[in-house]
Amino acid sequence: MDINKFLKQSSLYDVLSVESLYSEDFRKKLSLISKIIIFAVGFAILFFYATQNSQKYIGYKHFFDSYSLVSRGVGLIMFNVGVYLWSQLTNFYLSTTYYFEKITKNKYSKNDIYTFSAGRILYAGRKTDILHGFFYSKIGKMILIRLGINQKDAKAFIFSQKTISKELVPKSEDEVLKVKDIAKYLYSTKSEFAKFLNNKGITDKELFGAMEWVIYETETNEYNVQWWRPEALARKKSLASDWSFGQTFLLDKYSRNIINDAEVSSEAISFSNRDSEISQIENALSKSMEANAMLVGEPGQEKMQVVWSLCRNIKNKNTASALQNKKPILLLANAIVSACKDKNTLENQISKIFNEVIRAGNIVLIIDNFTELLKHAESLGSDFVNLISPFLSSSSIQVLALANTSDFHQYLETNKSLMNSFETILVRPLNNAEITQVIYASALGSEQKYKIFFTYPAIAELANSASYYFSGGVSSDKAIDLLNEIAPWAKRNGKEIIGKDEVLEYIEQKTNIPTSGKMSAKEKDKLLNLESSISKRVVGQKDAVQAVSNALKRARTGTRNPNKPIGSFLFLGPTGVGKTETAKALAYTFFGSEDNMMRLDMSEYQTDDAMEKLIGSFASGKPGVFSSMIRDKQYGVVLLDEFEKTSKDVLNLFLQILDEGFFSDMSGERVNTRNIIFIATSNAGAETIFKMVNEGKNPKDAQDEIIAEIVSKGLFKPELINRFDSTIIFKPLENSDLQQIAKIMLKKLSGRMTEKGLSLDITDSLVDYVVKNGSNKAFGARPMNRFIQDSIEGNIANLILEGKAISGKKISFLISNNILSSKVS
C-alpha cells in the first residue's frame, strides 16, 4: 500500500493535516500576538472612556470619533479573542489526540494503524518518499541533530537523493507502525542512507537510540501539557489528607518526607526498567502481617531510585491499594546514630518512633542504611533485632529497609529471626542501554541549565564509560555524576555541542587513561614505533616484544575485546632473560613511566590466606592488596612475578579476570581490570628450554611441547594457559645479546657520570669483562647489574674520593687476565 492510502486509513490523518497547516510554532506565535493585541487595544479603549470628560484629551476624542476607533477596537478585540480561542482549540485537539509510545497505559488501538510520530514522518513524505519524509519532518530532523549531524550535511544528502514514486509502507512487528519500524526500514533498505550515517561514524544502534531519546523528549513535553490527566491531578497535595492520621513529632526529627524530593516531583516520564523491583516491594508491603521489605543493592543511589519511583507511584495514586494515600517517610539512620549515644536513649527513641508510626496509621517507614543502625545498636550493647521484632511482625506497620549488598551478606542475611520479618528484594544492576535511558532526563536538564547540547552518541558513551573506566560503585550513579561534571566542563571550555569525542576527551583528562576518542600525532608515532622503543631496552626477545606491541596497538585502535583486559601474557623462560625488563619497558614506553607497572610477587601468595591477602578479608573487613592496587591505578601493567608459585585459588581467580576483565572483592564489589595489561612470568619449563637450546633447537618452535610439559607437571591448568592472549617463550640469552645488555647498562652508568662532568670509555674489552663476570647460565643477565655496581661503580667511587676523578676527566678501564684497572685522563 502506498503512503497516501495508508495515511488516510487512520483517524489521525485529519489531525496530521491540521498540524501541517498550523504548526506548533505558528500557533504559539499566533496566541502570543492575539493576547498582546487584546490587552493593548483593551487598554486603549479603557483609557478613552476614562478620559472622555477631560478637556486635556479633547483632541484625542475627536480623533477616535472621526475614525470610529472604539467600535473598530472592539472589533479587533473580538477578532483576536476568536483567533486565540481557535489556536487553543487546535492545541487541545492535537494534544488530546496525541498518542504516547513510551507510556504503556496509553495504548494504541489497532485502528490507529500508525503512531503519531510515525504519522508525522509519513505525512511529510506523502508526496515524495519515506526517506525524504524522514529528513523533512520535524521529528526526523531532531533525530539527525541528536546524532550530531548538522543540517547542512543532511540537506546536501537528501537533495542528492532521487524520489521513489509510490513507495510502499514498511511492515511493522507491532499492531501499529512506529518510528522504530521506519528507522529500521530506512537503515536496512536505503543503502545510501546507511552509508551516509556510517561515514559519520554512526551505527544502527545509535540511530535507534537517538530515535528513542527524541520520542522520549517529545512525549515528556506533551505529557506535561496534559494537566487534566488523572495522575497529573493526583499529584496536587490534598487539603486535609493527614487530618485523620496521627502526628509523628519524634519521627519528624529523624526523617524527611520523601514525597517532596525533586526526583518524586519531577514530571519527566520514567522508563519502566524498575518495574520488577517496584512490583515486588508492593507485593511485600501489601501482606496482612509482616509487610516489610528489604531492598538490597550496591552502595549508591540505585536503591533510592527504586524508592523514588515507588513514591512517585504513590503520589500519582498509581500503586497497590495497600499503599494508596500512604505517606512514605525516610528515616535517616545516620541522624539517629549521631543523636543517640547510649543504649537507653537509642532503645527509647527507636521504640517511640515505631509506636508513632503505628499510631499515625498512614506511614510507610523507609529506613536508609539499615545496617548502620543495627551496627550502632550492637556497639552500644543493645539487642536491636529483639527490640524491633514485635513492631515488624505487627499488622499495622510497613517498613522498607535499605541495605548495601556487602553489609547484607555480612550482617543481615545470617540473622534468621530478622530476615523472617523481611522480604528480600535485590536491586538488579542496569545494563548500558538502561543506564542511557536513565540519563535521558538528566541530560535534558543539563542542556537547559548550561545551554549546551548533548548528542545521543555522547550520552551512550557516558553510560558505557561509567562502567568501563571507573571501577566500583553503581554505574548509573557514575554516569549521572559524569554527566553533571561534563556539562560545566564543556561550558568552561566553550564547547556548546557535546559529542562522543568530547566525552572521551573529558574522561581522558579525568582518568589519564587514553581513550580511543582522539589520538594525537605523538601518540600515533609512539604506537607505530612501540616495538623499536621497547627493543632498545629488551635485548634478544624479538617475539615477546612483537606480541606485546601488537596487543597495545589493538587496544588503542579500538579493535580489541572491550570486555577483557587490554592484554594478558604468560612469559616463560629462565631467569635473567628479560621478562621483567619487558614489562618495565612497556610501562615506560607506553604508559609514560615505570611507576605505571604494579608488581605482585606471587610467591608471597601461596598459603591458604592468599585470596584474603589479595582481594581482602570478609571477616576482618581488611581490603586486599590486589583490589586496592587496581582501584588506585586502573590503567597500567600488572606484573605477576613467579606466577606458578601462587595457590590454586588465586590461579582460579585469574581465570575469571583474564576472561571477563573484572573480579569481585571481599565485599562483593566489582573491580574493573579492563584497562590493565597482565604479564605473568614463570620459570616453569626453563630446563626444557635450556635443553632445546643446547640441542640447537629454537624454543619458539617447540612452544607446544614446553606448554604440554608445564601442564603435565600440574603447574598450570590448560584452561588458564588458554586464557592468556599469548604465551611467550623467552629463550636463554646468547653471548651477543649479553654483550648488548652490558653495553646498555654501561651506557646508563655513563649517562649518570656525565651529570657529574665525568665520562666513561666503553671499550669492547670492558663489555666482554662485564659479560664474562656478570652473567651465567642459570641466572642469565640478572647478576650483571649487581656486578657493574660492585666492580665498576665501586672503582669509580674510589677515584672520586681520592680526588682523581674530577669534572672534565675521562675514566677508562683496562682488563688484563680478568683483572680490572682504571685510568683517569
Partner: protein, 130 residues
C-alpha cells in the same frame, strides 16, 4: 481543499470524540476534588480523635484518671468531627458546583466553534465597516 477537509476533520472530532473527552475531563476534575478535599478519608475516620491525639486509658481502676482521659478524648473527637465536617461540606459544595457545571460546560463546548467563528467574522465586520 485541504483547509476544508481539515476543518471537517476537526468538527468531526469536536462533536464526536471530544464530547467523550469532556466527560473524562469532568470525571478527572471530580476525582481530583474528591481527593483534594480528602472526602473519602475524612468520612471513613469521621469519629476519630483530631490527628489521633488521644490518651490511653489507665490499666488499673482509677476513676479520676479514667474520667479525665474520657473527657480529653471526647473533646479531641468532637473537635476532629467539627473540622472534618467543615472540609467535607466545602468539598461537597465545590463538587456539586462542578456537577452542575457539566451541562453548562457541555452547551458551551457545543457552541464554541460557532462562538469562535462569530467572534472572528463579526470582529472583522466591525473593523472594516465601522
Amino acid at each position: 481543499m485541504k483547509l476544508l477537509s481539515s476543518l471537517f476533520g476537526y468538527l468531526k472530532w469536536h462533536y464526536g470524540k471530544a464530547l467523550i473527552t469532556t466527560f473524562t475531563f469532568w470525571k478527572n476534575i471530580l476525582f481530583f476534588l474528591f481527593n483534594f478535599f480528602s472526602i473519602k478519608s475524612l468520612v471513613g475516620n469521621f469519629f476519630a480523635p483530631w490527628k489521633r491525639l488521644a490518651d490511653t486509658y489507665p490499666k488499673g481502676f482509677n476513676l479520676k484518671v479514667y474520667f479525665f482521659t474520657f473527657i480529653v478524648n471526647t473533646i479531641m473527637r468532637i473537635f476532629g468531627m467539627f473540622m472534618r465536617s467543615i472540609v467535607i461540606i466545602v468539598g461537597l459544595i465545590v463538587c456539586s458546583i462542578v456537577i452542575i457545571l457539566l451541562p453548562i460546560s457541555l452547551i458551551l463546548w457545543l457552541a464554541l466553534p460557532i462562538i469562535t467563528a462569530w467572534l472572528i467574522v463579526y470582529g472583522l465586520i466591525l473593523i472594516i465597516f465601522s
